[in-house]
Symmetry: C2
Subunit: 311 residues, 2 copies
């Protein structure tokens, strides 16, 4: 299935989680893949710069991800985290010992003046990755959520408070000063396929689309632009996408997500369970592809990647 | 032995190693102990601020030190260090996972504008230490060594090159701008005893004495000023003290060390094995105390501390 797709130039927009798994499939199916990753949930933790979605993508592609958690490294230990708590650090954000090496290296190099793009490229090379992984921007962007319990940064909402607060509005601090990272616009312009991963449209794909110049690049791209729905049967596989659709006034369905991407994509890919929504989505002016979008396992990722690249 | 000494106000000047062990004894024998620690070998490792002697003192007093290595924490693991090497970091300076928590916390707080004195005090509190541990200065001082193989920073000389280079000169970068840390001069002025630990006179005690104002504070202190020789039977228990005495033109003996401290101390404490040197040292204008200065084990530290505080 992946043989004819190998030469396809493919670009994936993604957060962590399901989008990272799809990126893994695309990276395996295409020898010319670029993964553009959300950095809106980057945070300084214990004084170290953590880029959770970039790390999840790198670890997934390097096959060192913790498959149960969906983030962090497999076979991880937590000696430093335990010692940090003993020293009085507010240890609400768990970082494993191996994972810490990534954050320590990244932080050292960012402080030395290297860009996040360059640091990410070197980390990918050290991990032996073939695909290019690009942060959406080298400028810091911080996703903030207005909730019924006040405003908070993304990790505060997502990790510390376990995304239990109803989200009323989302803003991206720093977005006006952000530019697409070097290579991002070129990847979108020069690809055969641009694929929106099945990631949260508000806090994973949303920040990427909000970087000035990104929408224009997508609108002008000659690539086949494809989005994979993160909603299956009216629910998100994981995370707050369904809750956010609801609280932000959208229909909690693939149709609800498709409406958010209107004008930016050519094809919307939905799960077999949502086949009944195909006609309504097509009425938005996009093609629909109905398939099995569950890609927890590697063979499923390769299958879906092959299907997408064949579009 | 330690009962009558408990009320004695004692200040110890020290590096890591043997000086830290003596500081441990003094801290156990006196309920009013201040440990002033060399920071000339502080270094940025992987972008983290490491204060090796401060850490060795804290870990020794907290009884979490690795007794074999004499530095770092007991029952340590090295998952982060291994992962850092895999990511391409030049991993010549070994930091354990638990130990890393100290450096991460310190670095975060220094970058947030807290002084090394304050960060050290909070670390000591978190470790439950009764004694006050003070860095010699809040300003960065960097010990540099001119050797037959060129100039190098202390950790380069000591750790990376295993102190194999013959040292021709020693300088302390930043020393002119350094001031004694808050509490340092007061501790020296208000103590009953000021004790130079059996530390390297050039790179452990030397930087402390080189901080502007320190020699004057010692000269003017009403305290009984005592130094414990780091040389036993013509050799250093560990480290390059004997080599440095030789290469810098001093006699490799307790007498050679005593000459370095002339005018700053009242009593020089030598090991039984060096008893024959007592007369020559007394001729320098200081008292000599001959005793067993081997203090690897806690009871020996308490015994020697009691003897010193009884002086």
């Amino acid at each position: 299935m992946d043989r004819p797709a190998a030469g396809t130039r493919a670009t994936v927009l993604t957060g962590g989680g399901g989008g990272a798994r799809l990126a893994d499939g695309i990276a395996a199916a295409s020898n010319n893949a670029t993964i553009i990753v959300n950095t809106g949930d980057d945070a300084e933790i214990y004084g170290l710069w953590v880029s959770p979605d970039v790390d999840t993508v790198m670890y997934t592609l390097a096959d060192v991800i913790d498959p149960q958690a969906g983030w962090g490294r497999r076979d991880e230990t937590y000696a430093t985290q335990t010692a940090l708590a003993e020293l009085g650090e507010d240890a609400w954000f768990t970082l494993g010992d191996r994972d810490l090496a990534t954050h320590i290296t990244r932080t050292r190099r960012l402080r030395a003046g290297h860009s996040l793009t360059r640091v990410t490229a070197d980390l990918c090379e050290a991990m032996g990755l073939g695909a290019r992984v690009l942060p959406m921007s080298d400028e810091p962007v911080s996703t903030r959520l207005d909730t019924e319990h006040g405003g908070m940064a993304f990790q505060e909402y997502f990790v510390r408070r376990k995304h239990r607060d109803r989200v009323q509005a989302i803003t991206f601090d720093g977005i006006d000063a952000a530019r697409p990272a070097p290579g991002v616009v070129e990847a979108i312009s020069d690809s055969d396929a641009v694929i929106f991963g099945p990631s949260n449209p508000f806090v994973s794909i949303g920040p990427i689309l909000a970087v000035p110049g990104m929408r224009e690049a997508l609108q002008q791209s000659p690539a086949r632009r494809i989005a994979v729905s993160p909603i299956i049967g009216g629910a998100a596989l994981k995370g707050p996408a369904a809750d956010m659709l609801d609280s932000l006034g959208h229909e909690v369905s693939s149709l609800g997500v498709a409406k958010l991407y209107r004008g930016l994509i050519d094809v919307f890919v939905i799960d077999n369970r949502d086949a009944a929504a195909a006609a309504d989505i097509e009425a938005l002016g996009m093609d629909v592809r109905v398939t099995d979008t569950m890609i927890a396992q590697k063979p499923d990722r390769l299958r879906l990647a092959g299907e997408l690249l064949a579009l």
